[in-house]
Point group: D2
Chain length 366, copies 4
């Protein structure tokens, strides 16, 4: 990860502010010959698009992506792909107060202190709107993965909102697309609906936890010691706005385990090694085992709330702020498609890295 | 992070295997004119050195670091600094069995599958021994930070072993150096001693959680959107062997909070903004606030245990393995100095990045 | 330089094809607080713009640059700056034949062989049109340099077209802006006019050599051993389309010198060291000396000519090609503003790198 | 190229000073399974070794390379390879004067000005001795290329010393190994011997030009627009000490050509396209054509000479310097094996990059 770029070989640089003319992503290093068009990318953007239900911001953005380069006659050419999304619903008047006053829990103050200038309109560069560009870029990665690793699936889903976690016994993949929270637990969706309605009415917001499950990732991706697959996945998730923690497999709970419990026992299956459990989350020594890769992360609650909070102005005067405007009561919800997009980019990047270094040769077992 | 390198401007590439002739770190981009000698680095290595108490591996390594380049007449020259540590206690005979059999929960199998070759002696490149090189490199970063940011302190300490967490009410900085676990809670140290003695006797091992507290970090470090300070800290910790989860500030608990609770209120102090709480862990929008930076991570239990676990051989035959040899009953303990070293490198790197891009200019408040 | 990006801290990624909807540059790492607007960038683009005289392609492009991000209230914010130039004059019908037939001396064949797909319209990604994006990005670098190094000047000029070189005794800076070749030798301009008129009539084209003179570059820029200032300048020039050779100072002629002749003698002036000559071209050991930095490069003749040349089709059939359409009889002319843009980016990048690593501290002399 | 590293996937970081304890190279990203041992690397180092004839420095260095990591049971493991060469013949007393006085034409002054500290012993980091590390690293690249591209040959040879160029009509590959200048023109070798004897006696030194011919490079290597094969080769050569100019194919002479002359006509051969000439030097649009890649570069004369030159001391006092000690009368001679090593690294790097991005798929012709 360099300043505004992620990836080693498949490199994405996002650009743009919430209320500027446009935002987008420059995607470099995509393999050539991959079928790609804007409609394909649009499907992913539509999942992230605000204003689709009462649990996300009511800002209305078409979020229409244009491909400006790198695709010819329907396939990628191997040259940089520029993806642009015009900003259309920029009610700048909503944001007058935050030009002068720092929202607690928000990047307003640090951007100001670091740069001595910030585009305060809608959070500028630090707006969650930046993630639209990630989703578009992730769509390119998905297209390449679909061509290169046919069986791969990348799915994220919500596992916690506020204090309420899902019940793993009720886990049902089919539920994920049926509720506004992308959760596999229908009952949790109901609980969360009530919880968020209450919070929204009182001008408050909620944190959330999202889980990613990547199935069909080939064995051997990841480059120890620093370009580890888990390192890069953790960095990718931590780079999403408002994320405060990332876990692979057992995650923080690994601290509580014994070595005996933690060891995923191995046996020989018809197609290679088979594991008796997946506490590792599909990664050992930074390299994929071929099991499901499981990543979890926590998103802090939206800091733009109607509850008054003590703060200061640019001039240093004490004041209180309540943030009007259209904000997500639970910004974690829209992190679900963002997480999938980031994971797609990381997996494709490591696929290319691996075939670059090793040529895809594998040590045989059996 | 590229394959075996971390950092943007202050770049560290570690090299070496557990049982090869030597291991070390190539440190590039260090500022010139920093006082540095081997004795200074040795103090940090001595903290990580195995065999110091019964809770770490009984392997005896002098872990003596030599500076081969980049230092002249006692100060850094701005050219690459090569740090080498000779391996002296290589009982290769201990590792015969793992040449043919994969330890569950260990990188043995994935290295083999990825590369088709691995130095199996003592875990080769995936050995925790690699972290000695990180500690040496971190010592260089500490020396530079001491010169550039006099008030900075970087301290890690143990907060959990197995199911037993510290009690924050008993937190005492002075305790940290008094017990073999580097924990601020003297009572926890006693509990852990008993817990680990039992585990060790039964040939088992324990996970752990380590916390880092960085005080005196200047405001304005970190480069959104991808080169965020929290992203780079998370990547740095996740790259340490056996780490499975990383948290900044509230971490995974942020999911359970409301926006009202999470907002660290701001007031104006004599030297600038003052925060009423530190749920953010000292980072907002990827940029340091000037508060303490708080990072936590979980280390899984050592996978080399005496408890028999089902596995397979390279030939694909089912078998059981018990790993003799000298292993850490709780590898998390030695992660404490490693975490400090990694944090030092990240902070220095971002300090250089920031003065490169902004020249250290800051937006004024008040 | 990574695949489509140049720079270490000030990083530019260009994107776009000759006949796609747009092309542009993603500029990352610009210092914040730099005054910048589109009009400023436009002045540099207007110098490179085709169709301004009979020695450049008659394609008419407005080459209007839009700033889509990274600038707020007239100054840079420190976040990525997206520069977009719409393609407006895309006569794709001109390019039918080259879809199937490879132009000798052109990248047609290698793009096809490498990627299995290419946007053949107007040369696609390999078109000299890509350099418009470099000029726009270079304008950002110039703006930052104007703020950070007030006395700096970056000037390129033509020193050779075909076999005709300038006479150094007639060197006159004022002439550079008075002739269509940006040459300091008015007589050479006349010779070249006649030479190119003849070539153009016969459907042929000419090579050229361009020189850069960078005055006022601070002492101490450049990072040995591989991030040398001359290495990065050479790479920047070599990356421009059609460039086949690069020289610093004496360049290839250095082979013919003795050590006695080559040593630029040093004396002490009122403001520091003064050099008796500048055979080094202002760089010693990869680091700027404070003298003028002198870079020279050769541009091969345009490969799209009306002279018939033997070639093959995609199907492997032998054929002859003559390239109609609107092409530069001497593409080297438009390389002049491109060279200035690339040099500006390299100098700014090294300025940021240097203050990142050293903080701008300098060893004193005297 | 970052500060002290070159390469994208196959990355080499050299370290060490002329008179420190050792120097070496950290080689990251090497494919696994490549047969490698120290003897193999030694053969290349022995070619570069000083003191072999009267035209190179009389310093005697064994230049014995040790492999400290990354090789197991005779093959590479895919992890970092550390190559170390101990300095054995460090007559530091020879270098007393240059601690205080700057040699004209040498990096003494710029290192001092940039860093405020320099290891002046033997030129420290700026010594040509650094290139021993490049040769060792290049040996690793050669071993990998031998496995991956069996027909590849990488050969450098001298084409000019002082004002005396070779006669291309006398070009004889067999001569290259028969004379101390690695030149294919036996008569030139005689002329140079006399020329250098005279210069050496008078305490002077000579510049030189070296040419590289890379045969059997696969079609399709190189990554436009900035990671071009020619860009990376030019950067690699320009990064070698004392190099002042680099040419690909026609090089600077391309300025003098017409488009008609410059176009290498294409016909169809039994195994694909065949070119009627090679003015491009085997690279079009930054991508290899499959023809011989031809690179040429000029090396300035050694700046450490016995002829007195005017200069200043650190204190700013005017003085004259004559540099005693053991110096190369023509440092370009030892650049021959260095150029081969750098080229090997670049070609391997691009081979890995290409198979990473494209998987080695190629557009078919015919």
């Amino acid at each position: 990860m360099s300043i505004n770029t992620y990836g080693h070989l498949f490199r994405v640089t996002t650009w743009g502010e919430s209320h500027g003319p446009a935002l987008g992503a420059t995607v470099d290093g995509c393999p050539p010959g991959i079928p790609l068009d804007a409609a394909q990318l649009q499907q992913w953007l539509d999942r992230r698009k605000p204003g689709q239900n009462r649990y996300t911001t009511q800002r209305r953005e078409a979020d229409e992506v244009e491909i400006l380069s790198g695709v010819f006659e329907g396939v990628t050419t191997g040259t940089p792909i520029q993806l642009m999304i015009r900003n259309t619903d920029q009610r700048s008047k909503d944001y007058g107060e935050i030009a002068e006053t720092f929202r607690p829990g928000h990047a307003d103050i640090t951007y100001w202190q670091k740069y001595g200038i910030r585009d305060y309109r809608g959070g500028g560069r630090s707006s969650a709107r930046e993630t639209a560009a990630r989703v578009a870029a992730g769509g390119v990665a998905r297209a390449a993965l679909a061509a290169l690793v046919p069986g791969l699936s990348l799915r994220a889903y919500m596992v916690q909102i506020g204090p309420h976690r899902i019940d793993r016994d009720r886990f049902d993949w089919d539920e994920v697309e049926r509720n506004p929270f992308w959760t596999p637990d229908a009952q949790a969706a109901e609980v969360w609906a009530g919880y968020l309605d209450d919070l929204r009415k009182s001008g408050n917001s909620a944190g959330a936890a999202v889980e990613l499950c990547l199935s069909g990732v080939p064995v051997g991706l990841g480059a120890p010691v620093y370009g580890k697959l888990d390192t890069d996945l953790a960095a990718a998730m931590m780079s999403i706005n408002a994320v405060k923690g990332v876990e692979i497999g057992e995650g923080m709970n690994a601290a509580a385990l014994t070595g005996e419990d933690n060891a995923d026992e191995i046996s020989m299956g018809p197609d290679g090694p088979v594991y008796g459990s997946n506490r590792s989350g599909g990664i050992l020594g930074g390299i994929s085992t071929g099991q499901d890769i499981v990543v979890r992360f926590a998103v802090k609650p939206t800091s733009s709330i109607l509850k008054p909070r003590a703060t200061i102005t640019k001039g240093g005067a004490p004041t209180e702020i309540i943030t009007k405007g259209r904000h997500d009561p639970c910004v974690g919800i829209r992190a679900v498609p963002v997480a999938e997009a980031m994971a797609a980019a990381v997996i494709l990047d490591h696929l290319l890295l691996d075939r670059g270094q090793t040529g895809g040769v594998r040590g045989r077992i059996g």
